[in-house]
C-alpha cells in the first residue's frame, strides 16, 4: 500500500516544477522518506517498528514531585530560537556587516566505516543524508546566488559525487542514490580534491567546505598539516560538524581556516548545527574585497519554442531562459552560461539575498507576569495574525514587541517574521516607512 502511494507521489513530483510549490514538495518528500523507511523496517517486529524512530520516552520529563510530564516542546523550541537569534545579532554587531553572499560550498560527507554506527537512528549515514537534503534546500533558498557540490569519502579516497552547481534537485538525487559506507576516512584526500576544484573559483566567490564527519581518525597519505596550510592560503574556509566526539586535527583545521567546529549531541542537535551553516556567514575582512560582478538577467523563453539546451545538449520544448549575451538556452537559474561564462540570475534571487544584510532586529519579550489590568493599555492581539493574547486566566500569553514600531506579535509570528518574512509588518505599514 505504502509503496504505491510513494510511486503516486513521485509521479506528482515529476509533474511539478515551479518554485512556488517548493514548500509543499518538501512536505511531500519527508513523507516519502518515512514511507521508504517503513519499507526498510518491514523485517523487524511490529512493536519495534512503531517506536524505532520516535523514541517517545525521551519526550518525558520528571518534575519536582516525581510525576512524568511531556516536555513542552513548543516552549523549548521557542527558547532555542530566541537564543540563536540573539547570538546571531551579537555576532553581527561586533564583526563587520559584510557577508559572503556568493558562496561556493562543498559539502563533504564521510561515508567511512564509522558512518554505519547506529547511535543515530537508523544509522549515522542515513541521519546525515536526511538532514543534508533539508540543508541543501534551505541553502539554495537562503543563498540563491550560491553554488554547491557534494564530495564523499569512502575507503580512504575522496570522490566527487556532484559537480558544483546551482540546482538542489540534482544534488539531492545524486546523494540519495549512493548511500553505502566502507573503509577509512581521509581528511587530507578530501581537502586536496576540494582544493583542486575551489582554487579556480573567481575571487568574489566565498570558498567554503563543510565536513560532516563521522569517523574519529583520518588515514592520510601524507602530511595533513601542509594541506591545511595550503587551504588556508587558498582562503578556503573549512567548517566541520562531528557526529561523535571532539577530535584534535579537525579542531586544528577549523581554527586555522577560520571555520567553526561543532559536535552534535543527537539527531536534533545535529540538524540544528547543520542548518546554522545555511545563512551566509560574515565575510572575513581580509578575504573579502569589494568587487563588481558582471551578471546577466536572462529572459524566460516563450512556451512552445523548440531550442537546443546548452546544459543538457538536447532539444527541449518550452520554458528555459536565454542568455542575454550569447543567446544560449539554459534550463535553470541561477547558473553560469555554458557558452560565454556569464553569471545568470533573476532579480528575485538578488532580492532574496538582500535581507541577510539588513536583518530584522530581534523583538523584545513582553513580560507575561504583568497583571492583566496594567497590561490593558498594551495591545491584546497579535499585530500580524490578529490572534488574541488573552487566555482563559487573568494573565496574557507570552508575546513579543518590535522595538521600532512597538507593535505586539505572538511567538509564532515572531519566528515567521525573522526566519521567513525578513520584514516587520508593523514597521512596513507605518506611513512614510522606507525599508
Amino acid at each position: 500500500m505504502s509503496s504505491s502511494a510513494a510511486v503516486q507521489r513521485r509521479f506528482d513530483l515529476a509533474a511539478m516544477g515551479d518554485a512556488a510549490t517548493r514548500r509543499q514538495r518538501r512536505v511531500g518528500n519527508e513523507d516519502d522518506d518515512d514511507d521508504d523507511e517503513e519499507e526498510d523496517d518491514q523485517g523487524s517486529e511490529a512493536w519495534g517498528r512503531a517506536y524505532a524512530d520516535e523514541r517517545s520516552w525521551e519526550d518525558l520529563q520528571e518534575d519536582e514531585s516525581g510525576l512524568l510530564r511531556p516536555i513542552d516542546t513548543k516552549a523549548l523550541a521557542y527558547a532555542q530560537y530566541r537564543r540563536r537569534l540573539l547570538q546571531k545579532c551579537a555576532a553581527s554587531a561586533t564583526s563587520s556587516i559584510q557577508k559572503g553572499l556568493i558562496r561556493y560550498l562543498y559539502l563533504i560527507i564521510d561515508l567511512s566505516r564509522a558512518a554505519s554506527v547506529t547511535d543515530y537512528r537508523p544509522s549515522r549515514m542515513v541521519a546525515v543524508a536526511k538532514c543534508a537534503e533539508i540543508f541543501i534546500r534551505e541553502f539554495f533558498d537562503q543563498n540563491p546566488l550560491s553554488h554547491m557540490g557534494i564530495v564523499t569519502i569512502k575507503d580512504g579516497v575522496a570522490h566527487q559525487l556532484t559537480e558544483i552547481g546551482g540546482s538542489p534537485e540534482s544534488q539531492i538525487r545524486a546523494l540519495m542514490g549512493k548511500l553505502e559506507c566502507s573503509g577509512d576516512a581521509s581528511l587530507q584526500n578530501a581537502l586536496e580534491l576540494v582544493h583542486g576544484y575551489l582554487s579556480h573559483i573567481p575571487s568574489y566567490g566565498h570558498r567554503e567546505v563543510l565536513f560532516l564527519y563521522s569517523a574519529l581518525n583520518t588515514c592520510d597519505p601524507g602530511d595533513i598539516m601542509e594541506t591545511i596550510q595550503k587551504c588556508k592560503k587558498a582562503k578556503i574556509r573549512c567548517s566541520l560538524i562531528g557526529l561523535s566526539a571532539e577530535f584534535f586535527i579537525c579542531k586544528h583545521l577549523c581554527e586555522e581556516t577560520g571555520g567553526s567546529y561543532t559536535v552534535a549531541l543527537d539527531e536534533s542537535h545535529f540538524k540544528e548545527l547543520f542548518l546554522e551553516h545555511a545563512p551566509p556567514l560574515p565575510a572575513i575582512a581580509e578575504y573579502a574585497t569589494a568587487n563588481l560582478i558582471k551578471m546577466g538577467f536572462p529572459q524566460r523563453g516563450a512556451e512552445g519554442v523548440i531550442a537546443i539546451c546548452s546544459c543538457h545538449k538536447d532539444v527541449k520544448i518550452g520554458g528555459g531562459y536565454t542568455c542575454p549575451r550569447c543567446k544560449a538556452r539554459v534550463c535553470e537559474l541561477p547558473s553560469e552560461c555554458r557558452i560565454c561564462g556569464l553569471t545568470l540570475v533573476s532579480s528575485p534571487h538578488l532580492a532574496r539575498s538582500y535581507h541577510h544584510l539588513f536583518p530584522v532586529t530581534p523583538f523584545n519579550e513582553v513580560s507575561s507576569a504583568v497583571p492583566f489590568k496594567v497590561s490593558q493599555k498594551f495591545a491584546q492581539t497579535c499585530y500580524s495574525c490578529q490572534q488574541s493574547f488573552v487566555s482563559h486566566g487573568s494573565k496574557s500569553t507570552p508575546h513579543v514587541s518590535c522595538p521600532k514600531c512597538n507593535q505586539a506579535f505572538c511567538l509564532d509570528c515572531d519566528i515567521y517574521i525573522h526566519e521567513s518574512l525578513h520584514n516587520c509588518p508593523g514597521c512596513e505599514s507605518r506611513p512614510g516607512s522606507t525599508t
Binding site: L216, N217, A245, F248
Partner: protein, 760 residues
C-alpha cells in the same frame, strides 16, 4: 595580582586565582608560621607550583627583615620538571616589583652530564663517565702537574672559573635572576666558566634552588652538595607520592656476581698502583698513614673538584674517630677488602634463598673473614682516602669496589630497618642462575629523618597522596597540617568509571591465577577494541607488569584483536629500553597530532607512568587493566611488610592496597593536566568495585565517581564514554557562571578572608 593573607603580602603572577590555590596558600602560610612540616594533596592542573612559589617567596620577602631571608629548596624528580618550575619562577619574578626582584637569585642544579660544556668530557655517554672525564681534567693533582707540564690537558672552563671565583666574592659571580640549566650553560659559554661548578658554588647564596630528590635524600650526594644549607630553609618535595621509595632506594645496595668480579679487578689494579708508588714515591703512602693515625679519615679541606661521593651512611651516624689500626696501611686495607669480596662470593654460591639481619650477617663476616663491625664501618672512607692518595681519576672504572664498600659501611652502621637477602635466581625465571645479594632498607624514615630535623619546614605535596594519613606513619613525622584539596570545576571534565564485567557479563580481573584465562584476556581485548572505535585521538593503557603486558599482547595478536585495533588506531608499546620507549612516545604524539589516532600500551610503575604527561588530545582515555599490586612474592617486599607491621603497626593488606592504589591514581592522573582539559579513566578490574579499594583513590577522582559509574560492563562503559565525549565537545564558559565561581579576581580575594576563615 597582589593580596594579603593575614600579614603577608602575596604577589601572584596571574590576574585570576582558583579558590583552591588560595586555600592552599593559606595552609602553607600556617605551616611556615608554625615552622613545622606539612602534607598537602592537590590535583594536578590547579596551579600547585605557582601557588607554592609565590607564597613561599612572598613570605620570605616579608620576613626578610627579622632573621635572614628564608631559602627555598625545591626538589623535583626529573630535569624536565625542573625546567618547568624554573619557567614558572621566571614568570613570577617578572611580576614582582623591581626592588624586590633584584634581590632574588634562583637556579637549577643537575649532574655534570646536563651542565657540562667541555666537548671532551661531554662526549662520554653515561653520567658516570662524564663525571670521571671531568675529574680527569680537573682533579687537583692533575692541575698541579699541568702547572709544571703544559702538555697535561685541563679544562679551560674550570680554570677560568677558578680564577674568577678566587679573585672575587663568590656571591657576586651571578647577578640576580632565574637560571635554568640552559641559561647556566649559556652563561658558562659566554664567560668561559664551568657551569657545573658555578652552579655548585652559587647554590649557597641563591634564594631558590631547584634540584633532584637525590641531592637531599641520598646521603652520598647530599653530604657534598647540601651540607652547607642552613636551617632557615623551606624544603619542598613536589610529586612526592613515591617519596618513601626514594628514601629506601637511597640506602639500598645490591651486589651481583659481576660487581664482585669487577671489585676483584679493581683491587688488583690498586695493588699494582701501590707497588708502583712504593717503588717511586713511598713518602706519599706514609703521609697518608700518618694522617689516618691522627684520626682524619676525611681530609679537612678538599678541593672542590676532588670531592667524591660521600659516605653512604647518614651524617649523624658517621663515627668521628680514628680509622682502626688494622686498615690504616694500604696493603692491609686491600687484603681486608679482598677477604670481604671472597666472603661475599662464597655467600652468592648458595642454592637457597637466604634472609638475614645485619647483626647476624656482621657476626658471620667476623667469624668467617675476620672483619669486625668497626672495620666495615670505615671501609668507605678508607677507600676514598686511598683513591685520593693513589690519584685515581677514572672513577667510573672503580664503581664496583665502591659498591662493595658502600655495602660494608651500611651493614656496619645500621642494625635495624635493614635486611640482607640472597637470591640464587630471579623468582620469575628460576632456570637462569643470577645470584644477587641485596641489602635492602625497609624504613623510609631513616633517610628522611635528618631532613625533618635539619630544616625549618618540609612540605610534601603531590596530586595523589591518598590516603593522606599513611604518609606520616611511613615517614615517621608529625605534620602540622595534612590536607587534601579538591578541584573546583565549571564542568565535570573527568569521568572515572569502574568496569567489572565484559560484555558477556564474565568478571574481569588480573587476580593471580585467573588473569591468563582466555575469557579475561578476550574481555580486556574487547574493551580496548570498543574504546578505540569510540574515543578520538590518544588512548593510554596501563598494565600491571611487563610480563603480563607481553603475554596479553601475544594472546590478542593470536585472537586477531590487535589487528582490529590497528584499523582504528596505531599501537605503540613501552619497553624496558629507554631509547625505544622515547621513540615510541614521539611517534605516538605524532600519530595523535595528525589525526591517525594511537594507543599507547604501557606499564604501571614504569617510566611512562611516572613522568610523562598525556594531556589534551594525547590522552582522552586511560585504561588501567587490573590493580597494580607489587609482586607479592618478592622477598624484599615481604621483608619490608614484616618490618612495617612490627615497627609501625601497618597491616600488610593496607600497605599493599595503598601502594597499588596510589600507582593506579598516578597512572590515571596522567590524563588531566589542566582545568580546560577533559579525560576519562577506566579502572578495569572487579576488585576496584570494593569499597576498601576505590575509597582509597584521591578525593578529586572520588568526587567525580558517581554510583552509576560503578560495576559497569563494557557496553555500558562505551555508552557512557560516547555521551561524555559529546558533552565535553560542546563549547563551554571558562570563568564559570552563576553561583559557582572558579576564578577569583583580586576583589574577590580581598572579600574572601572573612568567609574563608569561617569555613576552616
Amino acid at each position: 595580582m597582589k593580596f594579603k593573607i593575614d600579614d603577608v603580602t602575596v604577589y601572584f603572577p596571574y590576574e585570576h586565582i582558583y579558590p583552591e590555590q588560595y586555600e592552599y596558600m593559606v595552609e602553607l602560610k600556617r605551616t611556615l608560621d608554625a615552622r613545622g612540616h606539612c602534607l598537602l594533596e592537590m590535583p594536578t592542573g590547579t596551579g600547585k607550583t605557582v601557588a607554592l612559589l609565590s607564597l613561599i617567596i612572598s613570605y620570605s620577602l616579608s620576613r626578610a627583615s627579622n632573621r635572614g631571608p628564608l631559602k627555598l629548596i625545591y626538589c623535583t624528580r626529573t630535569v624536565h620538571e625542573m625546567e618547568k618550575i624554573l619557567a614558572e619562577l621566571r614568570l613570577f619574578l617578572s611580576h614582582l616589583p623591581s626592588e624586590l626582584r633584584s634581590s632574588l637569585l634562583a637556579l637549577g642544579l643537575s649532574s655534570r652530564k646536563n651542565l657540562c660544556i667541555n666537548p671532551i668530557a661531554l662526549s662520554a655517554a653515561s653520567r658516570d663517565s662524564v663525571d670521571s672525564a671531568c675529574r680527569r681534567l680537573t682533579a687537583s693533582w692533575v692541575r698541579a702537574s699541568a702547572a709544571e707540564n703544559p702538555a697535561v690537558p685541563t679544562c679551560d672552563f674550570f680554570e677560568s672559573f677558578d680564577r674568577a671565583a678566587s679573585s672575587s666574592n663568590a656571591a657576586v659571580l651571578l647577578p640576580s635572576g632565574v637560571y635554568s640549566l640552559q641559561d647556566l650553560r649559556a652563561v658558562g659559554r659566554e664567560r668561559g666558566w664551568c657551569p657545573y661548578f658555578l652552579a655548585r658554588q652559587t647554590i649557597h647564596h641563591a634564594n631558590v634552588v631547584v634540584y633532584s630528590y637525590q641531592y637531599l635524600l641520598d646521603p652520598k650526594v647530599a653530604s657534598i652538595i647540601s651540607k652547607e644549607m642552613q636551617k632557615e630553609c623551606v624544603v619542598v618535595f613536589d610529586e612526592a607520592h613515591n617519596i618513601d621509595n626514594v628514601c629506601i632506594e637511597a640506602l639500598s645496595v645490591s651486589v651481583r656476581r659481576q660487581t664482585l668480579d669487577g671489585a676483584a679487578r679493581n683491587l688488583n689494579r690498586m695493588t699494582q698502583e701501590i707497588d708502583r708508588f712504593k717503588a717511586t714515591d713511598a713518602t706519599r703512602l706514609r703521609t697518608e698513614y700518618n694522617r689516618l693515625l691522627e684520626g682524619l679519615a676525611q681530609r679537612g679541606n678538599l678541593a672542590l673538584t676532588d670531592a667524591w661521593l660521600g659516605n653512604p651512611a647518614l651524617p649523624d651516624d658517621i663515627l668521628k674517630e680514628a680509622v682502626p689500626g688494622n686498615i690504616r696501611r694500604a696493603e692491609h686495607f686491600l687484603s681486608v677488602l679482598r677477604r670481604l669480596v671472597q666472603y661475599l662470593n662464597g655467600r652468592l654460591e648458595t642454592e637457597n634463598v637466604e634472609t638475614e639481619g645485619p647483626v647476624a650477617f656482621v657476626a658471620s663476616v667476623n667469624s668467617q673473614a675476620g672483619i669486625d663491625q668497626k672495620m666495615l664501618r670505615f671501609c668507605y672512607d678508607r677507600l676514598h682516602s686511598l683513591m685520593l692518595t693513589l690519584e685515581i681519576t677514572d672513577t667510573d672504572e672503580f664503581l664496583h669496589i665502591q659498591t662493595v664498600c658502600d655495602f660494608a659501611t651500611l651493614i656496619g652502621t645500621y642494625t635495624r630497618g635493614f635486611s640482607i637477602i640472597i637470591e640464587p635466581f630471579d623468582q620469575r625465571m628460576p632456570h637462569i642462575p643470577d645470584p644477587v645479594l641485596q641489602l635492602s632498607c625497609h624504613d623510609a624514615s631513616i633517610a628522611i629523618k635528618p631532613i625533618f630535623d635539619r630544616f625549618q619546614s618540609v612540605i610534601i605535596t603531590s596530586g595523589t597522596l591518598s590516603p593522606i594519613d599513611l604518609y606520616p606513619r611511613l615517614l615517621n613525622f608529625n605534620p602540622v597540617i595534612s590536607r587534601s584539596f579538591t578541584m573546583s570545576l565549571t564542568r565535570d571534565c573527568i569521568c572515572p568509571m569502574i568496569l567489572t564485567r565484559g560484555s558477556d557479563q564474565a568478571q574481569i580481573t588480573t587476580q593471580f591465577g585467573i588473569r591468563t584465562e582466555e575469557a579475561v584476556v578476550r574481555n580486556y581485548g574487547k574493551l580496548l577494541l570498543e574504546m578505540v572505535s569510540a574515543v578520538p585521538d590518544g588512548i593510554v593503557c596501563f598494565f600491571v607488569s611487563y610480563s603480563y603486558m607481553d603475554g596479553i599482547i601475544n594472546s590478542w595478536n593470536e585472537m586477531g584483536i590487535l589487528q582490529d585495533v590497528m584499523q582504528h588506531k596505531l599501537v605503540f608499546i613501552e619497553t624496558q629500553d629507554v631509547v625505544e620507549t622515547t621513540l615510541a612516545l614521539d611517534n605516538y604524539r605524532r600519530a595523535c597530532d595528525c589525526g591517525r589516532g594511537a594507543v599507547f600500551l604501557s606499564v604501571a610503575r614504569g617510566k611512562v607512568a611516572e613522568g610523562i604527561d598525556f594531556d589534551r588530545h594525547y590522552g582522552r582515555l586511560v585504561i588501567m587493566f587490573g590493580v597494580p599490586f607489587q609482586y607479592t612474592k618478592s622477598r624484599i617486599l615481604l621483608a619490608r611488610l614484616e618490618y612495617l607491621r612490627e615497627t609501625f603497626q601497618i597491616k600488610e593488606g593496607d600497605f599493599l592496597t595503598f601502594d597499588a592504589l596510589r600507582q593506579a591514581a598516578q597512572c590515571v592522573g596522567r590524563v588531566i593536566r589542566s582545568k580546560a582539559d577533559y579525560g576519562m579513566m577506566i579502572f578495569a578490574d572487579q576488585r576496584y568495585n570494593r569499597r576498601d579499594k576505590h575509597s582509597k583513590l584521591p578525593g578529586w577522582i572520588l568526587s567525580h565517581l558517581r554510583d552509576a559509574h560503578l560495576n559497569l560492563s563494557t557496553d555500558m562503559a562505551v555508552r557512557i564514554a560516547r555521551e561524555f565525549l559529546r558533552r565535553m565537545a560542546q563549547p563551554y564558559d571558562k570563568a564559570g557562571c552563576g553561583g559557582k565561581k572558579t576564578l577569583l579576581t583580586q576583589e574577590d580575594v580581598e572579600r574572601l578572608p572573612h568567609d574563608a576563615m569561617d569555613l576552616f
